[in-house]
């Protein structure tokens, strides 16, 4: 394969953002919107083509591109396998939806917003494609700049505080990862992860390096107790920002665990499993309880995201086939569901300019289509069988039972709490009595909103009933991940 298809995929949004920058429209922003829609859909189709042509029967990295970058030191190396392709498709799928959503919700500086979204897309795809630690770090960190601006410029009243908190928390976590990356270079003589996989990193260094990587991924994930930036960032970010944050940025950390922490530091991963289990269980129970008490819809969904990410870390570190597959499934499905829920909140926020649960009630009487879709996503979020949310949690819990009964029991308790806060919110927002006279004048969702939400609903239900396309894609890669892990453990 000579054509650099991954580079094309990465840089297509960046190049189109440059065209938007050059485009001139004074009154409306149609040309910017069309360029960005066109390019993001083209990126999506390209990523679908990649998925289609990816050979899922092997765990080798495919479409590998390698260029000399910094002489004798770092190579610009890209490649994908069965795990990363799903995250790439998720990214390219969510981005056009965000662009559609901003037609309704973003009123000022639309052009700049679209540029920021597309640049962010470039960095996000880059994270999932890179096969070199430094390149990974570069894309991982670079995403902070557009996200900082998205929260800060288009966000709500406390946007400055949230944007700063988001940026500084993430940066603080990441710099330790940078130290670890450079240390790995001096220990192994390379930053190319396919080569590092072959080399066993000395035992005495593994723990400290693993912790340095954790500091970055734990903030990004976010794991308890460093999750506090997430509710703030979500509440203040504009709808499209929340969607990207929840659907994709959080997944980078889970992907990082799978791609870096476990294969590179198997001994440390084994050693720290109890720590991760504890933190995950606390995240699941504690943030579910916190979510129960929220008055703000976005905050509630943000806390529920933390809880859901708790299942992901739990599943990854069971290091069983079911656990890891469940985590990946949970990440993809949470990407769809949380995106949809934030879009749902965005839809009513655009109309009533309030995110408070108390401001709503009885929406089903006036916005029937909206209420139906909202209900679908709420049920999917609590893991109702038949939606994609169920399968992920189910597999994670199956995996956990093999490792620790106690952890599995406690995590199952979290499922009940999840149902509690989701159903209670649905009851107060969709059903119940009308609290606010303005609700009577609300219009039901328009065509572009139906398009976004119905697409998401379709996939949430489709993958709930028919998980095979996803499972087949990452199956072989997950198997080889676990095999290599077992070999590395037994080897020592």
């Amino acid at each position: 394969m000579n054509f650099p298809i991954l580079s094309t995929l990465i840089f297509l949004p960046l190049i189109s953002s440059f065209f938007i920058f050059l485009s001139k429209d004074k009154t409306n922003n149609y040309s910017s919107i069309y360029i960005s829609l066109f390019s993001s859909i083209a990126t999506f189709l390209l990523s679908l083509f990649l998925w289609y042509s990816l050979d899922v029967k092997t765990s080798e990295f495919q479409f590998v591109e390698e260029k000399s970058w910094i002489n004798n030191f770092i190579k610009f190396k890209l490649g994908i396998d069965g795990i990363s392709i799903l995250f790439i498709v998720l990214t390219t799928f969510i981005t056009p939806i965000c662009i559609v959503s901003c037609i309704n919700s973003i009123k000022t500086r639309v052009k700049e917003f679209l540029i920021a979204i597309l640049i962010l897309e470039t960095f996000m795809i880059g994270v999932f494609c890179s096969l070199d630690l430094v390149i990974f770090y570069l894309f991982f960190e670079a995403g902070l700049i557009p996200m900082f601006l998205i929260i800060g410029v288009w966000g709500g009243p406390r946007r400055v505080y949230s944007a700063f908190k988001f940026f500084l928390f993430t940066l603080l976590g990441s710099v330790l990862m940078l130290v670890a990356i450079i240390m790995i270079y001096w220990l192994t003589g390379t930053t190319d992860i396919t080569q590092i996989y072959e080399i066993t990193i000395p035992k005495e260094y593994q723990n400290i390096l693993w912790l340095a990587f954790l500091s970055s991924f734990a903030v990004k994930m976010p794991m308890w107790p460093v999750h506090t930036w997430l509710p703030d960032a979500h509440v203040e970010a504009p709808t499209a920002g929340s969607v990207i944050l929840a659907a994709i940025l959080l997944k980078m950390a889970g992907y990082g665990f799978l791609r870096f922490s476990i294969p590179m530091f198997p001994i440390a991963s084994e050693f720290f499993t109890p720590l991760i289990f504890t933190l995950s269980i606390i995240a699941i129970i504690y943030t579910s309880l916190v979510a129960l008490m929220q008055d703000d819809m976005k905050k509630l969904i943000a806390y529920s995201s933390v809880a859901h990410m708790g299942y992901v870390t739990l599943g990854i570190f069971t290091l069983t086939k079911q656990g890891i597959e469940g985590s990946i499934y949970q990440m993809i499905s949470h990407g769809l569901i949380s995106a949809a829920l934030f879009l749902c909140v965005g839809v009513v926020y655009d109309r009533l300019h309030s995110r408070m649960i108390s401001a709503y009630g009885g929406l089903v009487n006036y916005l029937p289509k909206y209420s139906f879709l909202f209900l679908v996503f709420a049920l999917a979020a609590l893991g109702l069988p038949g939606t994609s949310g169920f399968l992920g949690e189910f597999l994670v819990l199956t995996g956990t039972f093999q490792k620790s009964y106690l952890a599995a029991m406690l995590a199952t308790f979290g499922v009940i709490l999840g149902a509690a806060y989701m159903l209670w919110m649905t009851k107060r927002v969709i059903f119940g009595t009308v609290n606010n006279s303005d609700i009577k004048n609300l219009k039901d969702i328009n065509k572009s909103e139906i398009l976004m939400l119905a697409t998401l609903a379709f996939f949430v239900i489709f993958f709930g009933f028919y998980p095979l396309p996803l499972m087949e894609t990452f199956n072989v890669s997950v198997n080889s991940l676990i095999d290599n892990y077992q070999i590395a453990l037994n080897g020592n």
Partner: protein, 471 residues
């Protein structure tokens, strides 16, 4: 001896041209424009002379003057940055009535001093170069002589700088006394750990040099001088003498002090950590942009010194890469200041930047690129500068230094973000007249382009710097 003159051709050409334009300036009336343009031409010609000469190492005049790739690199860097600083500040100079013909001539004289500093292989020559540079800088700091703050900053700089020069000279004389020579190579052979007097001398010399690059705890003059001096001078102070000072520091570590590595390493590590922390903490509360840049430059020197502190060639290389990228960032930052003009007044408070992204999107984007680069966020140029330094630091397993350095990066990100917040998140107050200053715009554009596209070919600069130490 006459055969050796072509080795010094850049210096000779520079000094002869300075005398010529000095005379021309005296006899031609209203000569600022002519002299200014001639200075630019002289700078460009000198660059051409240096580039066309050979880069092999040659020592002349009883080994007191070296010409090698190292000194040539720094000379070109000094010339290029002076060229950009001068030209971007031209409108500012004219509008603030600083357009005396001496202005560019004194800058050229200081460049001449720096040439001798980076080429010196002898204590006497080095000190003469340093003093020529410092004297020119004293005058520059107080060039706006009717302005109270400019003269104040000039005096402050003079008193403190003279003190540090005294310490430096004392160190030099001690070094001569204990080693018996002023020649760097000879000193290097004589200097051992047992030679306590010479180690003592090394401390004095380090103090003097730390003052010149404004590293903590010898930084006190920096914020006041940066704020008090006219912006065009500040931008020169922030960029060019720093380059020369760092070159000198590396040279001292590399040649005369190479045998007492452990002794000076501790000092440099302390200076580096202190500079990084002070630069990060003190800048947080600043309201004046120039003052903020002063503290930020203290912090940046701390990072460059972290590279020097490794005592390894890879560390010196990373420090050189750092200072080169630092130059690009600071020229960009100061050129942005020249665009903040409102009704003939140049604004320099951070609050004046409030909401400029609405009226001046291009200027705001330039600020964004430069500030994120100063903060060291990838994929901008500033990240690579820090990256190379930390790679070198971790190679020597100096974990404390690396981790403190990276934590201060996060702290300093805070105040850069505060400026970005002012630019992007706050409401618009002032509309500036940015259109007319083409020179400053050009250098902002050049700086941003370099910082943005650096990640495409990061090895160009790296290879160049590696080649400096190839022999």
């Amino acid at each position: 001896m006459i055969n050796n003159l072509d080795i010094m051709l850049p210096e000779i050409f520079l000094s002869l041209s300075i005398f010529t334009i000095l005379m021309a300036g005296v006899f031609i009336k209203k000569s600022f424009n002519i002299i200014f343009n001639f200075s630019s031409i002289i700078i460009i010609t000198t660059i051409a002379i240096i580039l066309s000469s050979s880069h092999n190492e040659i020592k002349i005049f009883s080994d007191s003057f070296t010409r090698d790739a190292f000194s040539n690199y720094f000379k070109v860097l000094i010339l290029l940055s002076s060229l950009f600083v001068l030209n971007s500040s031209k409108n500012f100079i004219v509008e603030n009535k600083l357009d005396k013909f001496e202005y560019p001539i004194i800058i050229l004289l200081s460049i001449l001093g720096m040439f001798f500093m980076v080429s010196a292989n002898d204590l006497i020559l080095f000190y003469l170069g340093l003093e020529l540079q410092s004297l020119s800088l004293y005058i520059l700091a107080s060039i706006d002589r009717d302005n109270l703050r400019s003269t104040e900053s000039g005096i402050k700089y003079f008193v403190l700088s003279a003190l540090s020069s005294g310490l430096l000279l004392y160190g030099c004389s001690l070094l001569y006394g204990f080693t018996g020579s002023t020649n760097f190579d000879y000193i290097s052979d004589q200097l051992t750990k047992e030679n306590t007097g010479a180690v003592f001398a090394m401390v004095f010399i380090l103090v003097g040099l730390a003052f010149k690059v404004s590293a903590v705890p010898f930084h006190m003059w920096t914020p006041d001088v940066y704020e008090g001096a006219p912006t065009s001078i500040t931008s020169y102070f922030a960029v060019v003498p720093k380059v020369a000072g760092l070159a000198l520091l590396i040279k001292f570590m590399f040649i005369p002090f190479s045998n007492i590595l452990l002794e000076w390493q501790t000092i440099i590590i302390f200076i580096s950590i202190a500079s990084m922390i002070l630069g990060a903490v003190a800048a947080m509360v600043q309201k004046n942009f120039k003052r903020l840049l002063a503290y930020s430059s203290i912090g940046h020197i701390g990072y460059a010194l972290a590279g020097v502190a490794t005592g390894a060639i890879s560390g010196y290389q990373s420090a050189i890469v750092y200072i080169s990228i630092y130059v690009v960032m600071n020229i960009g930052a100061f050129s942005c200041l020249y665009l903040l003009k409102k009704d003939g007044q140049y604004k320099e408070n951070i609050s004046d930047l409030s909401g400029i992204s609405k009226k001046h999107p291009l200027l705001a984007i330039s600020f964004l690129i430069i500030l994120f680069s100063l903060a060291g966020v990838p994929p901008l140029g500033g990240f690579f500068a820090k990256f190379y330094v930390f790679v070198a630091v971790l190679e020597k397993e100096m974990y404390t230094l690396a981790i403190i350095g990276l934590l201060t990066t996060v702290m300093s990100a805070f105040y850069y973000l505060k400026i970005i917040k002012t630019i992007y998140f706050d409401d618009n107050i002032i509309t500036f007249d940015t259109g007319k200053n083409k020179n400053a715009q050009a250098s902002v554009f050049a700086s941003c382009t370099i910082l943005l596209t650096f990640f495409l070919y990061p090895s160009i600069l790296n290879n160049l710097v590696i080649s400096l130490f190839s022999n």
